[in-house]
Each structure stands twice: as C-alpha cells, then as structure tokens.
C-alpha cells in the first residue's frame, strides 16, 4: 500500500506550476500515469523512488514513512528498495549482463536469484555480453531483470517501451505483465501511449499540469463513458478515405492494420494520427475519438 500526498514546484517550458498529488496505490496494483510530457509524471515517480525531494507532504509505503516534510525526514533511495527502470536503462557499461544482475543483489541474497532471472527473461545467451553490444529490447530486458534482482518492493517504470520498435514493444509488454503477476509487484508506469496503458494497467491516472485530472480503469478513462460495446481496442488512425457515402478508415490496432467503414458523423471528429477506440457493437463497429485530456 502506497500513500502519497505531496507538492512540489516544477519549472517547465510553459512556465512554473505546482505538482500537487494525492494518491493511494493498493498492494499488487498496476497503475499507469498518463499525460503529456512535462506534466509531472516522471517527477512523481522520482519522488517515490527518492531520487527527488518533494517540497512538502508525506509518502508512506506499507506503513513505513519514506518522506515526511513535517519531521524533515527523507529515507534515502538506497533504503527504499524501489525497482526503478530508467528510460535510458542505465545499465552499468563496465559489467556484463550477469555482472549487472549480480551487482544488484542485496547483501546475503542467494546467487540462485540471478540464475532464476536469467532463465525467466531468456538472457542465457547474453549473460557474458557487455551492455553496449545489446539491442534496445535486450537492454530493456536486462534492466528489468536487474531491477527485479534487487528484490524490490515495487516496480517503477519510466516510459519503459518508448525507444523500442513495435514488435519488441508488444513482446516486452507481455513480459512485464507476466513478471508483475509472477512476483505480485505493485507497479507504477509512466506512459503516454494509450494502447500500452490500456493493455497493462488496472488503473490509470491522467496527470495534467501537476495534478490528477481523471482516474479510473483504462476503459472508463479513455472511452469517456460513451460506449456499451462488447469489444474495444485502442488504435491509431493511419488513413481516412472517402468511398461514396461512407468512409474507409485504416487503423493500426496493436500490431495489426485494419480497415473499417465509418459514417461521416464518426469521421467528423477524427483525423490522421488520432488515437481512437475501436468498439465492436454487435456487427457494426463504432469509432469513438479517444479523449485523453
């Protein structure tokens, strides 16, 4: 259980604003922080990990105080054991893949854990390689394995898939989900990818200008409460063509490209590149623009 109530002044390109957040996260929950860059998502994550200090407020994890501005207390990051995955992966270049994992072990931990993670993440072939020789997806897997090697009490993911190609991204999302379930880890992920948030998280918080604008299950948050559809997929509009009275819309859903027919009404509010939800309502699919803000 994470209880957080913090404020912090932030300086962005648009000017100064105050990050002011109050949130509770249940044990084992997968939460996404969604929003535009510069909204304060990463800062929130860094405050949780202890890499940044809030101006005021408190952070409590499983009843233990991590930060309390009233008592001027801040638990240093190395005592928090929060598994943080950095956007640039931050693998130690001087150590092999195995070395990176072994370095992360807590004092007294069994070496067995490294073997287990190497097995679990399929890193066997790569274990003697240096990080510089790995591809982006491989680095990401090592970073995840390394974070887990330290037996974290939570997993903090800062845009973990942003630098990867689509196929790798989908594969790694599955992997993260599998491991998160396997270890029952409370996970907080920063992302601005709707389909990713949709796929992974149980709860999403939309952060705007430093505060929570909206929160709920991904379906509630992104569908804006309009649908009663049975199936729903998040997608991106690749192309809109006119075909007589109707429109043919080409969508990227997951890693598939699909073409659906849409009415002029539906197409009115969407344009190329927009994020949409594709809902299957009985036999005719319905397009609804995604409202992220």
């Amino acid at each position: 259980m994470i209880e957080m109530d913090i404020t912090k002044k932030l300086f962005s390109a648009q000017g100064e604003f105050t990050l002011s957040l109050q949130l509770n996260i249940e044990q084992g929950e997968f939460i996404s922080l969604f929003g535009e860059s510069g909204a304060g998502k990463t800062t929130l994550l860094r405050c949780l990990a202890g890499l940044e200090k809030p101006d005021a407020g408190s952070i409590k994890v499983n009843g233990e105080t991590w930060f309390d501005s009233k008592n001027k207390f801040m638990l240093p990051p190395r005592h928090r054991h929060a598994g943080y995955m950095f956007q640039d992966y931050a693998l130690f270049p001087n150590m092999s893949v195995r070395g990176n994992l072994e370095f992360a072990l807590r004092p007294g931990a069994k070496r067995q854990r490294v073997e287990e993670l190497i097995e679990l993440m399929g890193l066997g072939e790569l274990q003697q390689r240096k990080p510089d020789t790995l591809s982006g997806g491989q680095k990401q897997r090592v970073a995840l394995a390394r974070a887990l090697a330290a037996e974290p009490c939570m997993l903090l993911l800062d845009e973990p898939f942003s630098a990867l190609d689509h196929a790798t991204r989908v594969r790694l999302q599955d992997e993260v989900l599998r491991l998160q379930r396997h270890y029952g880890l409370t996970t907080v992920m920063v992302s601005h990818d709707v389909s990713e948030v949709y796929k992974l998280s149980q709860r999403v918080m939309v952060i705007e200008q430093g505060s929570i604008a909206k929160q709920g299950s991904p379906a509630e948050v992104f569908k804006a409460g309009q649908s009663s559809g049975k199936f729903s997929f998040a997608g991106e509009v690749l192309d809109i063509e006119t075909a007589d009275v109707v429109f043919a819309v080409t969508l990227l859903v997951g890693n598939q490209i699909v073409r659906v027919i849409a009415t002029p009404d539906e197409v009115k509010n969407i344009k190329q590149g927009d994020r949409v939800m594709l809902l299957s309502k009985a036999f005719n699919p319905v397009l609804v623009p995604v409202r992220s803000s």
């Binding site: 202890g50 929060a82 370095f103 330290a150």
Partner: protein
C-alpha cells in the same frame, strides 16, 4: 663518459610520489567538483586552473614565501609536522602536487561529468552506498580519463622547471632534478651531459604519451 644518474632518479621519484598523492587527493576532489552545486564552484575551478596559465615563477615565488620558516605556514609545518619545506625534497613534492593538480583534476572531473546521471541513480535505487557506487560503477567507467589524468600529471611533473628552480634550488640528491641538471650542465658548458639528460627525458615522455594514446584508442574501440 660516466654520467650521474641521480638527477634522473630523483625526477622519477618526485613524479611518482607526486602522482600518487595527486590520485589520493585529486580523484575525490574531482568527484566532488563534478557533482557539487556550491556557489563558489567557479572560484574553485579558477584556482585549480591557475597553474595552467601562471608563469611557474609566480607560483614558485609565493610558495617560497609560504615555505620559509619565517612565514606562519612554514613555521607551522616545521614545528608541528617536522618538515622543512624550503629547499627540500618534501617542498618539491608539495609544490608539484599544487602545480600538477589541474592535469589530474580536469580529465577526471570531465570523465565523471560525462557519465549519465542515471548510472548513479540506478546504483542508488539498487540499494548501493555512495562508496560502492563510486568504486564499482563510477571509477571503472571513466578508466580512459583516469589514465589520461595520471599520465599527464606524471609527465608534467617530470617536465617541471620553474617552480623547482624557485623553491628547490640545486641541491644534489635533494632538489636537483633532471630539468635543473640540464640547465646546470649547459651553464658549465658541459653539453654532453646536458644532452644525455635531455635525451632521456625526451624519450621517456614520448614513450609515456604514445602508450597512453595507443591504449586509449584501444579502449575507445572496445567501448564503441
């Protein structure tokens, strides 16, 4: 012809001791400078760099004043630590450390600054202490900078003349290093001996620098 090897040995002894002390002081200092946010950082940076631009005689002159037993500092060191700094080998070591300081600090500091901050942060979140991070993560990843710093300060100490001249004088076995010996031999028109010292210094410095460039290239190739 029989040459006196003492000035050469003294030179290398001075360079070795100076480099050792510089590593002990300079590497932690460079680390601190790389990450500190204190206001006086520009002032400190300027002070560290001063030996690069000042004529050695300026530094030598002030050190001479400071080292003299009549000055507060010289008096203190002589009575409390028992070291006579003016015209002594220990004085040369102190002066060389100050004089070669930027040659170690600059490359090492920029080495630290060139490392992504996330490396330190990653080690932190993995529960590692500052010391563990420093030894196992930071230092091994700035090896080329460390090598450059160590070699440059060693070579620079070998090449020192002005400061030694000012505060060391020309005492055989104590302060008469090779650079001084060359000057001395030339003054007494003993060109053969001067040439011998000069040639040794030239070759040694050439070989040291060459091996650094070769090694660094190899390291860079390995990393890239």
């Amino acid at each position: 012809m029989d040459y006196d090897l003492q000035p050469l040995l003294l030179t290398f002894k001075l360079a070795a001791i100076t480099t050792l002390i510089l590593c002990l002081i300079g590497i932690p200092f460079a680390y601190w400078m790389a990450y500190t946010k204190v206001r006086i950082k520009p002032v400190l940076e300027t002070l560290v760099s001063m030996p690069l631009v000042l004529p050695p005689s300026v530094l030598g002159f002030y050190l001479l004043l400071a080292f003299s037993p009549q000055s507060a500092f010289g008096h203190f060191v002589e009575t409390w630590i028992g070291l006579k700094l003016a015209f002594s080998f220990s004085g040369l070591v102190v002066a060389s450390v100050i004089f070669s300081f930027p040659f170690l600090v600059h490359p090492v500091q920029s080495g630290f600054q060139g490392l992504p901050r996330s490396l330190t942060e990653a080690a932190c979140t993995l529960g590692k202490s500052r010391w563990q991070t420093f030894v196992h993560v930071l230092l091994p990843n700035i090896k080329p900078s460390l090598l450059a710093g160590v070699v440059l300060s060693f070579a620079h100490t070998i090449g020192e003349f002005g400061v030694v001249m000012m505060i060391g004088g020309n005492l055989p076995g104590e302060t008469k290093v090779a650079a001084i010996a060359i000057y001395d031999e030339v003054e007494s028109l003993n060109y053969d001996a001067a040439n011998f010292y000069a040639l040794v210094l030239f070759s040694v410095c050439f070989i040291i620098l060459l091996s650094v460039y070769l090694l660094n290239r190899k390291m860079l190739v390995k990393v890239g």
